[in-house]
Amino acid sequence: MKVINIEGVEAEVEQGGTRLRVRADFVEDVNVGDYVLVHAGFVIQKLDENEALETLRLLEMLGMGVQSTPVAEG
């Protein structure tokens, strides 16, 4: 969902014409225009565009038969 307004720890988010008032206590530095994951009234993470593009690149490589998978993380 896209952040369209923020006042303190309260944010207004929007997706497909639906607007919700949520709280952003758990994620620092939420700004208008950010895309966020919302669960039960709370922003729980900001979406990372660079990582999204990297995943899409990996998917395309995978489709072409280049068998590369992300490195395991601890």
Binding site: R23, D25, F42, T55, L58, G74
Partner: protein
């Protein structure tokens, strides 16, 4: 970046399926442990397009479904106490207790309010100082931080008419526990994307290293799930068992520390019963002593008779991946979303509801 359509590209999906087909030499069972994955797999028809040798089963990933019958009976009983208002997420309303559901109970005069956020329950307590508001506190690591914050807020305001029925649970202990059942065979886990947003990648490490089960944290679009299946098959092919993160655009390796801090400020782990899995050590959360005055169980004396589940209902086996919904004799005949018998048919995230709703769907 549109965030959704890119991860639904049919032409890439076909190519990934070809790669999956090349890897699918042996029979294998992959388990997803998240209600949102259950729905996404059914909605996009992913089960139907995978090679026959790959079996996708649902595990204990739906918080409503794993709530025991005795918990349900107990909070319905609390709702029947004079002056109590029960506040709950919508999914819980239709779940049948031994005798009645909250929806039926409402017809008998119980005051049940559906809330979207735990803060709405706190607001109800503020608005109705002469009533006792009991929030039915269910959910996994994704939901619990908000509940913890609501409790901290209620404490700050000294709201003494706000309570919770504590039934929150933790996912990784249940994943480990189900591997000890003789009727469960899992070769790899599609790990829950939203829960992992909070807990990060580390809690799955013992499942990979001690139990030898590959784990891939996955997103919820078709390409996410197909990529996760591919990654699991690669690990299986090369005899590896490690934790990988497919959902990197959302899940950070360290998770969300602020959210975890809120959980453990208010709650501490305890051993609780799960439907279908029994008692699991350190898999639930109870209020710490400084917050235990919010515990409805300590404030309301309720005795419920021994509970009973429908003898033919297979929810227990379905919740540990030992059966699929179509194995149940009640599925789509006696048990439907309109007249559910078990919780897996009630919850919008339940495996039976997902199978029922998307019976004819196939990825195109």
């Amino acid at each position: 970046m549109r965030w959704v359509s890119e991860f639904r590209d049919g032409s890439i999906a076909k190519l990934i399926l070809e790669r999956i087909n090349e890897l699918a030499e042996h029979e294998c069972t992959l388990m997803e442990v998240c209600g949102t994955h259950t729905m996404a797999i059914a909605r996009f028809g992913i089960r139907q397009v995978l090679p026959k040798s790959i079996r996708l089963v649902s595990g204990p990933g739906c918080p409503v479904c794993v709530t025991t019958q005795s918990d349900i009976d107990r909070f319905i009983s609390i709702g029947q106490i004079d002056g109590v208002v029960l506040a709950t997420f919508g999914d819980m309303v239709k779940v049948p207790g031994s005798k009645i559901s909250l929806r039926d109970a409402r017809a008998h005069g119980i005051d049940v309010r559906v809330v979207y956020s735990p803060f709405e329950a706190v607001e109800l307590a503020r608005q109705m100082p002469n009533r006792k508001v009991v929030f039915v506190s269910i959910g996994f690591e994704t939901t619990t931080p908000g509940i913890a914050l609501a409790i901290m807020q209620a404490e700050k305001e000294r709201l003494r008419n706000f309570f919770i029925y504590p039934a929150n649970k933790l996912v990784p202990p249940a994943m480990k526990a189900l591997l000890s059942f003789d009727d469960v065979c899992v070769d790899g886990f599609i790990c829950p994307g939203h829960v992992s947003t909070i807990i990060g990648t580390r809690p799955y490490e013992p499942i990979a290293t001690d139990y030898g089960k590959p784990c891939v944290i996955a997103g919820f679009e078709p390409l996410d799930i197909l990529q996760a299946v591919f990654m699991l098959l690669m690990q299986i092919r090369y005899g590896q068992a490690k934790v990988e993160n497919q959902y990197r655009r959302v899940v950070r390796p360290e998770g969300n520390e602020a959210a975890r801090k809120a959980i453990y400020e208010v709650f501490e782990p305890n051993s609780v019963e799960w439907r279908g899995l029994g008692l699991i050590e350190c898999s639930g959360l109870k209020l710490r002593s400084k917050y235990e005055h919010f515990d409805a169980l300590l404030n309301f004396d309720v005795q419920v008779p021994p509970t009973s589940e429908h003898p033919e209902c297979q929810c227990g086996r379905i919740l540990r991946g030992a059966a699929v919904p179509t194995d149940c004799p009640l599925f789509a005949s006696a048990c439907t979303p309109e007249h559910p018998i078990g919780p897996c048919m009630v919850s919008s995230e339940g495996a039976c509801a997902a199978y029922f709703r998307y019976r004819e769907v196939s990825l195109s």
